[in-house]
């Protein structure tokens, strides 16, 4: 069981490495959106600092969503998905391997980039640490929930818009608590409640999303 998980995970990483331009797009998008805000809003440090958590989170969320289409799209088109479904290993397990690879390729780099971009907005000290912690808990949720949306819209024309419609409502709680954690910390209040709720969301998504994804993939392949 572990061998197949590792095989799927490694193949996705290898594939992404061979097509670096594709996934670097996601990261560039994140950096560009976040960097444009100070230019548009103006250079006063105070409004920028208050807006920073929201801007960083919204940009991370949109960047993660941009990459969802490719999550199962290629596998669906070239027949690999059929082989994954027919594999002796449970499909939710293999879906989780793909989700983990997606997180490593988008969530982790976004989390690493975020504090650097946060400095642009005058965030420093504890709020920066809270930002990283919140993203570490929140970005896996984005991959998990996004996988369900991506699987549900496989083979549908105009799937990109549909994914956004399906997934964004579910992303909103993560956005609220993620940005809330950083804002609370910047205001000198404890960020613990926000982070706990994010962690609870992560556990819930981890428990449900692989199964929902697998069910949607089976329907798509039929």
């Amino acid at each position: 069981m572990g061998a197949a998980f590792v095989a799927v995970f490694r193949r996705d990483i290898l594939q992404a490495w061979r097509r670096r331009a594709d996934w670097l797009n996601t990261l560039f998008f994140f950096v560009i959106v976040v960097s444009l805000f100070p230019l548009g809003v103006g250079p006063e440090p105070e409004p920028l600092r208050t807006m920073a958590p929201g801007i960083l989170w919204v940009a991370a969320l949109l960047a993660a969503m941009l990459s969802l289409q490719r999550m199962f799209g290629d596998d669906f088109a070239d027949g690999t998905l059929e082989q994954l479904i027919l594999a002796p290993q449970p499909l939710p397990w293999l879906a989780l391997a793909k989700i983990a690879a997606h997180w490593l390729l988008t969530g982790v780099p976004l989390t690493l980039l975020a504090p650097v971009l946060g400095l642009q907005f005058g965030l420093e000290g504890e709020p920066l640490f809270v930002l990283v912690a919140a993203l570490l808990l929140g970005t896996p949720c984005l991959s998990l929930i996004g996988a369900v949306g991506a699987a549900l819209t496989l083979g549908v024309r105009g799937g990109g818009v549909l994914v956004a419609l399906l997934v964004l409502p579910l992303y909103i709680p993560i956005l609220i608590f993620g940005a809330g954690a950083v804002a609370a910390s910047a205001a000198g209040i404890s960020a613990a409640p926000h982070l706990s709720l994010l962690a609870a969301g992560l556990l819930l998504a981890l428990a449900l999303a692989p199964w929902a994804t697998a069910a949607a993939l089976r329907v798509a392949a039929e």
Partner: protein, 206 residues
């Protein structure tokens, strides 16, 4: 080994087939014939578990096959229209991955032997995107060489896009598979020399 009773499949309003019953024993090959759109691919997808039948039952070694049946999943191999190859990975990497997923022998040695056997040793390290249609099909068929442990092969148009050499190689491989007591179900539009005496035909549109 494989018994089908009263199988029916409908696509939208159209009934593809119904009351279909047949069995495939050890060492037997079933050649499913029929014009385009007769439901050959649908039948194969139902047999391997990708599709759902509207009625009927599939039994493997006497036991009804259920969705997510792990023993059945280990014992059957499906090769569809799509090659299931990744354009950016090399031929060897693709085969290695396919073997690991199917739970068959996926060591690098085994992959090398297979590439030798299906005449792809020269393009071992090339990305699949540089291969011709026929070479891609051969690379996909490489999974058959790795799947010696799976007794049931379900093959959808395995001979398409192959040159005569490869057709002969594949026929020989199928012969060896049946010799070992394996079973196979396949569709093809080409007249190929399938192992005589072990092949039965089934017409879907009869």
């Amino acid at each position: 080994m494989l018994e089908i009773t009263d199988l029916a499949c409908r696509r939208g309003e159209r009934l593809l087939f119904r009351g279909l019953s047949f069995s495939v024993g050890a060492g037997e090959l079933l050649w499913i014939e029929g014009r385009n759109g007769a439901g050959k691919t649908s039948l194969l997808r139902i047999l391997c578990g990708l599709g759902v039948a509207d009625a009927g039952e599939i039994r493997w070694r006497g036991r009804p096959v259920r969705r997510g049946d792990e023993t059945f999943a280990r014992e059957r191999l499906f090769l569809g229209h799509a090659n299931a190859l990744k354009d950016d990975l090399t031929v060897a990497e693709n085969l290695h991955f396919a073997a690991r997923i199917a739970g068959s022998d996926g060591t690098l040695d085994a992959v090398d032997r297979v590439l030798e056997a299906c005449g792809l040793a020269a393009v071992r390290g090339s990305p699949v995107r540089h291969l011709s249609q026929g070479q891609r099909r051969r690379a996909a068929l490489g999974r058959l060489w790795l799947a010696q442990a799976q007794p049931l092969w379900i093959l959808d148009e395995p001979f398409s896009a192959l040159d005569t050499d490869s057709v002969d190689r594949l026929s020989a491989l199928l012969g060896a598979h049946l010799e070992r007591g394996g079973a196979a179900v396949l569709t093809t539009h080409q007249e190929v020399a399938l192992p005589a005496g072990r092949t039965r035909r089934l017409r879907l549109d009869a």
